[in-house]
C-alpha cells in the first residue's frame, strides 16, 4: 500500500479495491486496465497495459523502401491509409522526392476521408454505448422521439414517429430474443446512463444509420486507391492517373468517378452536419455535468500537424491541422516540434516489456531498438493467468514515448487545444459555438466529454476540407495539370548509399510518425511511434503516468463492479492497440494469455 505523487501532478494511492478490466472491448486491439478504487468509489490509481505486440517494424528490415507503405498500412485496418501516407512521406523525406500538387490534393482527400469515417464509426459503434442505453430506448415514445429529432436536427429527413416506432420494434424483437448481439453484457441498469428514453432511441437509430452510411464514405478511397480497406498509395505521388480527355479511359480518374467522389463528399458533409454533430450536442446536454476524464489534456498536449495546403511543404504555416506542443498547462506558449531532434521525441521502456542496452536512457526513433523482455515475475498470478499487474515493474507491451521528458496526450482534443491556443479560426469558432450551445466554460473541454466533442468537430471540419481539396483538384485539372506522380527518384540506382527520413501525419487518433533509415537501397531500420503509444503509455522512470492512466484518475464510479465510467474515459481516446505496440522476437515469445472475464478482483 503506498501513496506516490507523480511529477505530472497525480497522487497515486494503490490501497482500496483493485478492479481489473480485461479485455477492454469496443477498441481496436487488446488492452487491459486496472484501477484502485477507494471507499467513495473514486479511482485513486490507474494502470494501462497493451496486451498485444506487432512485428511489422522487424518485418520491414531488408526490404525495398518503396514497398514499406503496403506493409505498414496493414498495422491497422481501422486507420487504414494513415500509416501508408506516413510511410511514403518518410521515404520521400529520406530521398528528397517532391510530389505533384494533384497528388497532394488526392492524399489530403483520402486522409480527411479517413478522419471523418473513423471519427463517426468510433463515436457510434465503439463509444456510444458508454453514453446510450439501447435497452432504455424500448421505453421511448416514438412521437416524442420524433419531436426531439426535429428539434435537434430540423434538416435530417428521417424523423417521423413511424420511423422511430419501426426501429423500436426491431430493437424490441432483438432484445426479447435474448441474443443481444452487440448489446450483450452491457451494464444497462447502471445509473451512469443519463439519457431519457427518447434520446436513447434517437441515438440507437443513428447508430444504425451510421452503420449503413459509413460504407459510402469508404468509396472515395476505393476510387482513388483501388479498394478500401487498404487502398493503394505510392512513393512519389498517388498511383491513380487522371484521364479526363481521352475516350476509352476506363481506368484512372475520369469525369464519371470524379463526380462520384464529389457526390460522396457532399453526402458525407450532410450526414455529419445533420446527424453526428446534433447528436453530440443533444447527448452533451444531458452529460454536461459529467466532466471527469480530463487527464493530461489540461497540461500536456502534442500535435504534429497535417494536411499541407501546398504540396511538399510540411512546415507549420502550410499545415491546416496545427503543429505544436503545450506543456504544464501553459496555453500562451505553443512549442515548435522538430522530429529530427534527438532530444525531443524519445521512447523509454522502464515499465514496458522491453530491454534497452543502456537501461533507462530514452531512444530517439532513428535509433530505436525493439528487444522484447516479457517478465511478469512480480505480478500476481501466473504468466498464463495474470491476476494483477505490478505497476512498479514492467507491465505493458507499449513503450513510453515522451516529448522533452513529458508524457503527452495526442488526438482530436490535443489538436483542438493547440489550434485554440494558436487562434485557428475555424476551430475556435466551432469551440465557441459548442460551449455556448452547452452553456459550459472553456475548462469543460479538458474532459472525456470535451474529447468526444472535439472528435465530432474535427469530423465536421474534415468533411468541409475534403470539398476544399476536391475543388482545388478540379481547378488544377481544368487548367491542364493532370500529373499525379513524380518518377524522379523512383529508381534505386539513383539513391544515396545511406539516407534517413521522417514522415508524420495526424492520424484520427493523434500524432503519428515513422522514422526510416535506408542503407544500400534497403530498409535498415524502421520505427513507428503511434498515437496510442503516446496515449496508452505506461509510466516512465520518473513516474509520470500516461494519458489513459491520467484520464481514469479521480473518476467516480457508480458501481465498482460495472466500470462504465472508466470505459467511457478510455474509449474517448479511440484506442488503437495494434498500432501502438512495437514488435518483438522472431522466435515468437510466448505471450501471457489474458482472456479472463470483464472483471476480476
Amino acid at each position: 500500500m503506498s501513496i506516490t505523487k507523480t511529477p505530472n501532478g497525480f497522487t497515486l494511492d494503490d490501497s482500496g479495491k483493485r478492479v481489473v478490466v480485461d479485455p477492454v472491448t469496443r477498441i481496436e486491439g487488446h488492452m487491459r486496465a486496472e484501477v484502485n478504487i477507494n471507499e467513495d468509489n473514486v479511482v485513486t490509481n490507474a494502470v494501462s497495459s497493451g496486451t498485444i505486440w506487432r512485428g511489422l517494424e522487424v518485418i520491414l528490415k531488408g526490404r525495398d523502401p518503396r514497398d514499406a507503405w503496403a506493409f505498414v498500412q496493414r498495422i491497422c485496418g481501422v486507420c487504414t491509409g494513415t500509416h501508408a501516407l506516413t510511410s511514403v512521406r518518410a521515404v520521400e523525406d529520406a530521398l528528397g522526392i517532391n510530389i505533384p500538387e494533384n497528388a497532394n490534393c488526392i492524399r489530403n482527400i483520402m486522409q480527411l476521408s479517413l478522419q471523418v469515417h473513423d471519427h463517426m464509426v468510433h463515436f457510434y459503434h465503439l463509444h456510444a454505448l458508454d453514453w446510450v442505453n439501447p435497452v432504455n430506448a424500448l421505453k421511448a415514445d416514438p412521437k416524442a422521439t420524433s419531436e426531439l429529432q426535429q428539434k435537434v436536427s430540423p434538416h435530417h429527413p428521417h424523423s417521423s414517429p413511424g420511423y422511430f416506432r419501426d426501429v423500436q420494434n426491431r430493437l424490441k424483437k432483438f432484445v426479447e430474443s435474448g441474443q443481444l448481439g452487440p448489446f450483450k453484457n452491457g451494464y444497462w441498469s447502471n445509473p451512469a446512463y443519463l439519457l431519457p428514453p427518447e434520446a436513447d432511441l434517437m441515438a440507437v437509430t443513428h447508430y444504425l444509420e451510421a452503420l449503413d452510411f459509413q460504407k459510402e464514405i469508404m468509396k472515395t478511397r476505393t476510387i482513388f486507391g483501388g479498394k478500401d480497406t487498404h487502398p493503394n498509395w505510392c512513393v512519389g505521388g498517388v498511383p491513380c492517373p487522371i484521364n479526363v480527355d481521352d475516350t476509352g479511359a476506363v481506368g484512372g480518374l475520369n469525369m464519371v468517378n470524379l463526380n462520384q467522389v464529389h457526390e460522396i463528399l457532399k453526402q458525407t458533409k450532410t450526414f455529419v452536419d445533420n446527424v453526428y454533430i446534433p447528436d453530440i450536442l443533444a447527448i452533451g446536454q444531458f452529460y454536461k455535468g459529467w466532466l471527469y476524464g480530463g487527464g493530461l489534456s489540461s497540461q500536456n498536449v502534442l500535435a504534429y500537424g497535417d494536411i499541407p495546403e501546398k504540396a511538399n511543404d510540411y512546415t507549420p504555416d502550410n499545415l491546416l491541422m496545427p503543429q505544436g506542443a503545450i506543456i504544464n498547462g501553459d496555453l500562451s506558449k505553443v512549442h515548435p516540434i522538430d522530429h529530427r531532434d534527438p532530444e525531443q521525441i524519445q521512447e523509454f521502456v522502464p515499465h514496458s516489456w522491453y530491454k534497452y542496452p543502456d537501461g533507462v536512457k530514452g531512444l530517439h526513433p532513428w535509433d530505436g531498438i525493439t528487444d522484447p523482455h516479457f517478465d511478469v515475475s512480480t505480478a500476481k498470478g501466473t504468466s498464463q493467468n495474470i491476476e494483477q499487474l505490478d505497476e512498479r515493474a514492467a507491465y505493458s507491451w507499449i513503450k513510453a514515448p515522451r516529448w522533452r521528458g513529458h508524457a503527452m496526450e495526442v488526438g482530436p482534443l490535443a489538436r483542438y487545444i493547440v489550434g485554440y491556443a494558436q487562434g485557428h479560426e475555424y476551430w475556435t469558432d466551432q469551440i465557441k459555438r459548442t460551449l455556448s450551445a452547452l452553456d459550459l466554460p472553456v475548462n469543460a473541454l479538458f474532459s472525456t466529454l470535451g474529447r468526444t466533442a472535439a472528435r465530432a468537430l474535427e469530423a465536421q471540419w474534415a468533411a468541409d476540407m475534403q470539398l476544399h481539396f476536391f475543388d482545388k483538384l478540379m481547378t488544377n485539372i481544368k487548367n491542364g495539370d493532370t500529373n499525379t506522380h513524380s518518377g524522379e527518384m523512383w529508381d534505386p540506382a539513383d539513391w544515396p548509399a545511406e539516407a534517413k527520413g521522417v514522415g508524420f501525419t495526424e492520424a484520427p487518433r493523434g500524432a503519428l510518425g515513422h522514422w526510416i533509415r535506408i542503407k544500400d537501397t534497403k530498409i535498415a531500420n524502421y520505427q513507428c511511434v503511434v498515437p496510442t503509444t503516446w496515449n496508452g503509455s505506461p509510466r516512465d522512470e520518473a513516474g509520470n503516468i500516461g494519458a489513459f492512466e491520467a484520464s481514469m484518475m479521480n473518476t467516480k464510479v457508480a458501481v465498482a463492479e460495472e466500470p462504465v465510467e472508466i470505459l467511457r474515459n478510455i474509449h474517448s481516446f479511440d484506442p488503437c492497440l495494434a498500432c501502438s505496440t512495437h514488435v518483438m522476437s522472431e522466435e515468437g515469445e510466448e505471450l501471457a494469455n489474458v482472456t479472463t472475464g470483464p472483471i476480476g478482483l
Partner: protein, 95 residues
C-alpha cells in the same frame, strides 16, 4: 514493368471488384500486389517483375516452378506457355 502480380494472382478482384463493384487496384492505377496469394509479401518486391511463377489452374495442383535461388525472370513467358506440356519436375526454390 511495374511488377503487377495480377497474372499470377487467384482472386475475383477484376470481376466482382471492390466496395460494391466500384473499382479495384489495377483499375485505379496501381499494380496488383497479389495480396490473396500465400506468402505474397516475399515474392520479390511489389514493383519488381515476377521472380516466381505459379501454374494456372486449380491451386491445389500448382507446383512451384522456381528458377533457382536468384529468382531469374527470364523463363516467365516460356513457363506460362509450357505449363500444360511440362512434366512434373520440381525445382526447389527458396523454400
Amino acid at each position: 514493368k511495374m511488377g503487377c502480380k495480377g497474372p499470377t494472382t487467384y482472386n475475383a478482384c477484376s470481376t466482382i471488384r471492390w466496395n460494391g463493384g466500384l473499382s479495384f487496384p489495377i483499375q485505379s492505377g496501381h499494380p496488383c500486389i497479389g495480396c490473396s496469394e500465400d506468402g505474397f509479401w516475399d515474392k520479390g518486391g511489389f514493383y519488381n517483375r515476377l521472380s516466381n511463377i505459379h501454374q494456372f489452374g486449380i491451386e491445389a495442383n500448382a507446383d512451384e516452378v522456381g528458377m533457382g535461388a536468384a529468382g531469374i525472370v527470364g523463363g516467365a513467358v516460356a513457363a506460362h506457355a509450357a505449363v500444360s506440356a511440362l512434366k512434373r519436375s520440381q525445382h526447389k526454390g527458396d523454400e
